[in-house]
Symmetry: C2
Subunit: 204 residues, 2 copies
């Protein structure tokens, strides 16, 4: 077993422990125990607890982003792009639930350079998604508030999954992706979509 493999195994243990206990509550001793090594041995692979959190977060986004780029290559239809984006997101989320829970929930604990690098790669992921939504909306302005709100609403829908998803009970990645793509494109009330004069929120 080479160094790289052992390091990735340590990362996986860290992700599991951080996901189950939360980053702050999880102790370095918990991680070491899960990885099957001593505390001092753990520090052979990292310089600090925060670096462990950083490594889990950055590695996750790296793989997620690379997979997205691969899947989107050559696809020009915005609706197909959206579906690919959502499906890619769910496939990764449901495969690496623990890592993604850490990324979603604990990345905000990072500071300094660690924070900067994770924020940067998160931003790349966000911008790639925003491009797709911009095409869907036919919005010319990349700074449009509507574009921002809509993109972040989509992010909310798909990121929140880690708080409720249960493998046996809920659909698989494809099922979820189909459903949420449909919801994001057409809403739950499609028959009223083409202007029927009745708007919501102006009646009070």
């Amino acid at each position: 077993m080479r160094y790289e493999e052992r390091f990735e195994s340590v990362l996986k243990s860290a992700a599991t422990v951080f996901a189950r206990r939360g980053y702050q509550r999880a102790s370095i001793r918990d991680v070491a125990r899960a990885a099957g090594i001593s505390v001092a041995g753990l520090y052979y692979y990292c310089k600090s607890k925060e670096e462990l959190l950083f490594a889990v977060c950055f590695h996750s986004f790296d793989v997620l982003l690379q997979s997205l780029h691969r899947s989107l290559k050559g696809v020009s239809d915005p609706k197909q792009q959206l579906h690919i984006f959502i499906l890619n997101h769910f496939e990764y989320f449901l495969t690496y639930v623990e890592a993604m829970k850490v990324v979603s929930h604990e990345a905000g604990m990072l500071t300094g350079e660690f924070d900067a690098r994770v924020t940067e790669i998160k931003r790349q992921y966000y911008l790639r998604c925003q491009q797709i939504v911009q095409l869907l909306l036919g919005e010319p302005d990349a700074e449009s508030p509507r574009l921002r709100t809509t993109t972040l609403a989509l992010f909310g829908m798909i990121n929140w999954v880690y708080t409720w998803y249960r493998p046996g009970r809920d659909e698989d990645a494809k099922g979820l992706a189909d459903g949420m793509t449909e919801l994001f494109l057409h809403g739950v009330w499609p028959q009223a979509a083409v202007g029927n004069g009745q708007e919501v929120g102006n009646g009070g």
Copy 2:
């Protein structure tokens, strides 16, 4: 200043500190300092740190739920109900950003009886929302997976807000509520809403 008022002031300080530092990282000394009292003095108002977190979470949901019931009274149109639900949610979220950040982010740290009581009141809030979505979908089965997924997608959209909302930059509660209600009802692609034969996700 009476006891109750002082206690609520302590709760507010706790919410602020928990929101800024995270529940685990925030020390009881931080809370005491923010509340302008000593550590021992703080323990006159609570039995433990966890009880403080519980009080913040439970109180928040209590107010949110009561406000929702008040607003929904007498409204029968599902679309109006949806708009009211979302608006109520945002109004509360944007008024008590810090408390709601704690609720969304840290409630999972609770254990035992504390956990049970917060989970229970969260469930009431969820079920009230699910009723509305059920009406919108015309779904007869309350256990339908689609109903569950759709409701949780809505929850994701509106709960995620605490991670990105910036008071100066983004719209106010009403603006957000209008936008998200529209998105949830009709999607971003309304012109393709009524079955045009082209579906997403079956092309690959």
